[in-house]
Symmetry: C2
Subunit: 572 residues, 2 copies
């Protein structure tokens, strides 16, 4: 009798080719599926036998567009957690750490993920800094030579999202343009991911013409249709699960050309709702056919990334799979990676964290002196009574900020903004480069009083402070500086909630339970201060993201994203 | 106004994602599709403009499983011809030349195809010799180091069909087994093509478990279903276009997991009926949906081979396409490669042959002395009156040969076979290795009288002679030896028809018209001598193919394919 390592009897497994569940006996040998015994007649001598009792068995989930750093966790605790949600392979794009520490940071992330419980692949951060150094200052950059070096690293399988999409399609001498040329000459099939919200028609074609043919950003139906029609691989994140989008995909059977992804998931959402499993569940509830939902989170992402060794339950493929208690609800009973159990509902996570330690220098990246009152006073001509200023407007439902022009009073040459509906927003360059500070005002669906501060600010991760009074801003800011990074909310000169992020100022190696709880308190504080947004954390974290429309703030000042330039705070 | 190289107005082009025809203006820049102007509103300054007048435009056809040598042509004339049938990319597996000349022959083929009018990629010949050297003698072999070397060659993109499928799934020390281990460790997604007729159940799983997951051979419906279900990429050749197979594919929507291929096409069929276009036409006539047929000969083959730069009409993809006069009939008006016209119905082929010359040694590969009467006499015990012998039985509809036991008279210790229903079959080792000769008898739907001889004998390409009388066999054999290879038919001591194949004894650099005409005459002669088979040329050419069931003949003798061993000619 032939020997195998694991035999699963009576499983209703998902056959990705016929897109249906078929009852079979499944054997596993050396971490790979060996025989799918449809006839259930072959006997094996097995080290272990599981009677699946007719339970559904699906391939391990594969998330090909996400950023570990968005969770504020380091790779190991992050992977341990998402393993419990059935995710067995991810492709992470470490441009956050790259913005802090350049190629060394990226390599450190890769190292930190090497022994993770699941397989972690990486995309080459292609847009670090995300725009022009005139628009933002970062702690690290990834240049042509860095990209070349990274492309040769093990587990680096694609170019991560090319975000400066308006620039690359124009005449330019960007490093990413040079690198695309280099890598496509070497391998015309090399995978390049994009990021191109609202890009359409000829501009979209130009982006695709460069070989950048994946996009995961938010779109209208018309934009999504243009992407599918022009050969872009569409990555659907939670906020894209909308009725008209789902209907279009179903009507045109576009499943083959899309995958579900998570992109950025806040740690508390992660802990409370789940990871890719949550996206899929939402899709199923939105009437996305369940078989196609599984296919689009296992088979198609694997194919997109040319990971032909996984994503299906078939002989020779890596034995990553989930045994479900309930199919419709994706209720997970057990998760297997390489044929080994890594999660069991009863016993929780089986394989424990190894607690990879980041080197000391990653705990010392906030190079700022203590903040003082002067840092928050905006001086203008002392003869003026008032000034017209540009204000960023937060709107619920989006991370885009609109522009508004308002008049603010001036006293003794100082703009009087405290306790007005227009909060001061400041970004302090924190890498010890030039000590520059950018100023702006903000209103709308954000906080109405108190202050919020963070070094978790996409993509440059400088120190952002927003507040309605100087004393609270100083308190929040100095708390962050003292603890070398974090997300802090305060009111009336005191701290309301605090999540330290001491590694690079953007992540922590604390366990998910703790981080989730702290972030939840941050969220509560923000809401308590009047934040009215579906995702206040991400909203704050993208005030400085200059690849996202329309008016954003960096240490260099206010950035008009469409024009790609710094604009004056004071209009007249 | 932006400049482009070519602008096609009013084309009904095939959108591979929506699987439908959409009217658009299409511009091409630097050999790649630039903008698909669905709105038909963008103006370009174009070097050339074509008004397609509503004609259908489809991507250039891609054939991922074929052997140039099967056409008996060298790469250039072969490619020139198939370009006129809309084929713009092929993946050829040069195991024929490898059997004659080893790795040098393969490299010579690659060189000969480098400047071809279309793109020629290669699979690494993995089974040369196709079985054990105890079963056949070849002029060349491809060992582990050869495969390693070839895998690094430009345009080599996969392992070609692994043919010794019964051996590789057993404990073995084959070079191909070592190589698969090596290449899969280097790249788990490296593509490995298989050849596994009639392999099912656990044996099929074992083959897949090795990572060999493509198959193009002939199957029953049950076998095809097993392949699809277990994750094998199914390559459908002409003879597989059968009602029940098509129905199964349609019912289960398996299009994504299959492609149409040609495998071996005789030069006269090629010239008279076409290449991949002919397979597709046949599929369409067999009720395969036309959109899916195009998809399965452009999109899916490109994806199977990870050629992400082609197979679709979309921005950034290589501008290989066909303008059709008639969609249903696939009537070709013009063919473009890299945005340049390479065929036009009116002017025929536009780019002419370069006439690559093979080095002298390729014209001297038949190392045999003149044949004499003694070579055809089979001696047995002189006391016997008769012997029971194994006979190979040709059956129309297949290249498989059945086994039959018959009694033949003996006179003076010589088997009396001349002018009986049992023709003598001989294979002379022709590489100057050991001068061995294999003997057998043959009957059934082959020739009934006269003789046929060939050095185009898959896969070992030794000199095969089959005849009903010694004098004609000598005439045919010596004609082939004198001209250093070919396919010759004779009767009553004279040559009826002759196709010289002087390069390696298997191909010629003569133009397709001439080769086709000569092969046609060979076919006619075979039919005239009683051959009753849908493909007499391939039938003769596979008498010696020991990876195809059941009883075959090589220079080592009769091979029982199932057992994988030499069996005695004389049973008792």
């Amino acid at each position: 009798m032939e020997k195998v390592d694991l035999l699963i009897k009576n499983a209703k497994f998902f056959n990705s080719y016929y897109k249906k569940f078929i009852e079979s006996d499944i054997s596993i040998l050396d971490g790979k599926f060996y025989y799918i015994d449809y006839k259930k007649e072959t006997e094996f001598e097995s080290l272990e036998t599981i009677d699946a009792e007719g339970k559904h068995l699906i391939p391990g989930l594969i998330d090909i567009h996400m950023h570990i750093e968005s969770s504020m966790l380091t790779p190991e605790p992050f992977c341990n957690y998402i393993a419990s949600r059935g995710v067995t392979t991810i492709v992470s794009e470490p441009h956050e750490i790259a913005n802090v520490s350049g190629i060394d940071g990226v390599k450190e992330m890769i190292k930190a993920g090497e022994d993770a419980i699941i397989d972690v692949f990486y995309g080459i951060p292609s847009s670090v800094p995300s725009t022009d150094p005139r628009l933002e200052t970062t702690g690290g950059k990834i240049d042509f030579e860095d990209m070349k070096e990274l492309s040769k690293q093990k587990n680096v399988i694609c170019v991560g999202e090319v975000m400066n999409y308006r620039e690359v399609i124009r005449e330019n001498d960007l490093d990413i343009t040079k690198f695309i040329k280099y890598i496509k000459e070497k391998d015309p099939s090399y995978i390049i991911e994009g990021h191109c919200p609202s890009l359409v028609d000829l501009d979209l074609a130009k982006f695709l013409y460069l070989g950048i043919d994946g996009d995961h950003t938010e779109h209208t139906l018309e934009e999504i249709e243009q992407r599918f029609k022009n050969g872009m691989f569409v990555e659907i994140q939670e906020k894209m699960i909308r009725e008209e989008i789902i209907a279009h995909i179903k009507e045109n059977k576009l499943y083959e050309h899309m995958a579900f992804v998570t992109d950025d998931v806040m740690v508390d959402d992660l802990y409370n709702k789940g990871h890719l499993d949550n996206v899929i569940k939402k899709a199923i509830k939105a009437d996305f056919p369940i078989e196609e939902a599984i296919y689009c989170s296992t088979y198609t992402p694997a194919r997109r990334m040319n990971l032909r060794d996984r994503g299906v339950i078939a002989p020779g493929k890596i034995a990553d799979f989930i045994i479900l208690d309930d199919l419709e609800e994706l209720e997970i009973n057990r998760v297997f990676k390489d044929g080994n159990e890594i999660y069991n509902k009863e016993e929780k996570i089986i394989k424990k964290e190894k607690n990879y330690k980041f080197p000391e220098e990653y705990f010392n990246t906030i190079k700022l002196d203590q903040l003082v009152e002067e840092d928050f006073k905006i001086k203008v001509d002392s003869k003026l009574d008032s000034v017209k200023v540009r204000v960023m407007v937060v709107n619920d439902g989006t991370t885009h900020l609109q522009e508004q022009i308002v008049t603010l009073p001036v006293e003794d040459g100082i703009i009087q903004w405290e306790n007005s509906p227009y909060l001061l927003a400041t970004v302090f360059e924190r890498y010890g480069v030039d000590g520059s500070v950018g100023y702006g005002f903000i209103t709308g669906d954000g906080i109405k009083r108190g202050a919020v501060g963070s070094t978790w600010v996409h993509d440059h991760h400088n120190l952002l402070l927003v507040g309605s009074d100087i004393q609270t801003m100083i308190k929040v800011g100095n708390t962050i500086i003292d603890q070398q990074g974090g997300f802090v909310v305060g009111e009336k000169g005191s701290v309301l909630s605090n999540l330290p992020l001491p590694i690079g100022g953007i992540v922590t190696d604390r366990p998910i339970e703790e981080v989730s709880e702290k972030l939840n308190l941050i969220r509560d504080s923000l809401i308590q201060l009047g934040y009215d947004h579906y995702n206040p954390i991400m909203s704050v974290g993208t005030y400085g993201l200059v690849v996202s429309p329309h008016l954003k703030l960096t240490n260099k000042g206010l950035v008009h994203v469409g024009k790609g330039e710094i604009v004056d705070l004071i209009v007249e």
